[in-house]
């Protein structure tokens, strides 16, 4: 799952409506566009929520920010929920500074992110 067309694959996994996509260490290069592509694929497959996991991403640069803004755009176009999990202090500060946090929820790690989303989907389900 989540094979990128070229180079090392973007790792992603899916549990029910939620997909976790791992940002890895290629976010900050042009090849990082593959992350956005994988996110869009998961959304097209019907995922209602995305977690982008930054556990293996030490820092985020301008290209990384742009790619993540693309992910935000893709999520908003399908009204999907989006959580960034495990971002480093530097990255989290940058997300705050540039306004990404207005569009995305930050979680300290993947487990917390998934828990957050399950509460959301449960709440969503309860509303119906």
């Amino acid at each position: 799952m989540g094979e990128a067309p070229a180079g090392s694959p973007v790792r992603s996994e899916r549990t029910g409506d939620v997909a976790v996509v791992y940002a890895g260490d290629y976010l900050n290069k042009l090849s990082g566009e593959r992350i956005e592509r994988v996110c869009r694929e998961r959304l097209r497959e019907g995922c209602r929520a995305l977690v982008v996991d930054f556990n293996e991403t030490s820092m985020v640069n301008s290209i990384g920010v742009s790619i993540l803004l693309g992910v935000i755009d893709a999520a908003e176009r399908t009204s999907a929920r989006l959580v960034f999990a495990g971002a480093s202090g530097q990255a989290a500060q940058l997300f705050q500074l540039l306004g990404l946090t207005r569009h995305v929820t930050l979680a300290p790690d993947k487990q917390t992110a998934l828990k957050l989303l399950s509460e959301f989907t449960d709440a969503g389900a309860a509303n119906h």
Binding site: L30, S62, S66, L69, R102
Partner: protein, 423 residues
Amino acid sequence: MAEQTDKLIHAFSALADLGAEIAESRDFEEMVRSTLHVVLGALGLRRGLVAEYEREPALLRFVAAWGMGDDAPNMATFDAGRAELLCVGSGLLNLSETQTRPALPQQLGTELTATLVSLRVSLVAPLVVHGELVGLIALGGKATDEAFTAEDRDVIRTMAHHIGVGIHNHRLLREVERRADENRQLYNNLRGIYRDTVRAFAAAIDCKDKYTQGHSERVGKYAEIIARELGWSEEQIEGVAVGGYLHDVGKLVVERDIINAPYRIDAKQSSELNRHPAAGYEILAPIRHPDADIPLMAKYHHERIDGRGYPEGLMGDEIPPAAKVVALADSFDAMTTDRTYRRRKEFPDVIEDLRSNTGRQFASDVVIAFCRALLKEVDGTPRERRITRLLGKGYIEPELVRPLLVELIEELEARAHATAGNG
């Protein structure tokens, strides 16, 4: 205030990223896409596109887009007048002012303005290098939902300048590559014409002598095979092949009757025939060949290592190496094809001839190389059996020929070794 400083530091490091992306990307579109990401990521912008301006035909070609889903256009016509207007303008165009500044749509054109507004682009930066438009970058949607600040505009202006220079440089490079390609193609065409002319000439030479049809072409091919086995460069190989094709060109000026004589010719006729190497040189010398030695190959293809050849009686290394190769190729073909007054030799006799004449008529290294090439064919190494094919079906019997070749190579190598030891 602290936030403003942090933003400035981030923009600054993005500027460094931009320089690296422009310098390191070898592919034009990759370079443009990377730089767009840097600008968007520097200021936290949600969408943008970069277009390259082409003068002929006058249009904007959108090279990179981000945050626009599938809505980004591919190209838009953009006439030269507008391009000029953009260059003399004051820099950034704020599309959110289209209502208050009616001049704006005029600058970009109503259609393009409408397209960009529909894509929620709010700022356009023309990319200008040396007073000429090379493209533009269109940006919109700060993730903070704030308006562009004066500092943002400064960052965009600086980055736009860098991206413009990057596009301009890539274009220059593409132009240089295109011209180099054109030149290469032209050169290859000329080489092709030259080769065809040479082959036509060879056919004309062989036509004069009805019993040696295909001789010149075969000599060219044998010479090429030997030169390759000797490890010569591609240019040298091609040169010696041409030398082989043209070695007998002088026969065009020697009497047809003598050439076609169905008997062994007398001394007078022989001296007339022996004029052909020098005559060939006279014909070939005024031509500017890619390989300057070609006239010498014609002139010296009847010279012998022992100095008993003609026209000059050169000895050993006085004979140019390429002429030694052509000489062997020529004699080998003469031995292995039927002539008016005799049938061709059996292959074991050819080997004997090579054995006794190496060091007298033929250069040892040239004979060894030829035998090696033939041995490789007999062993089935090369996919193309070129010599075997030139000799015709059934002439070479591998089981018989192989030991003869091995023996001759060993003997000639031992002889060469002994001579080197004595010297």
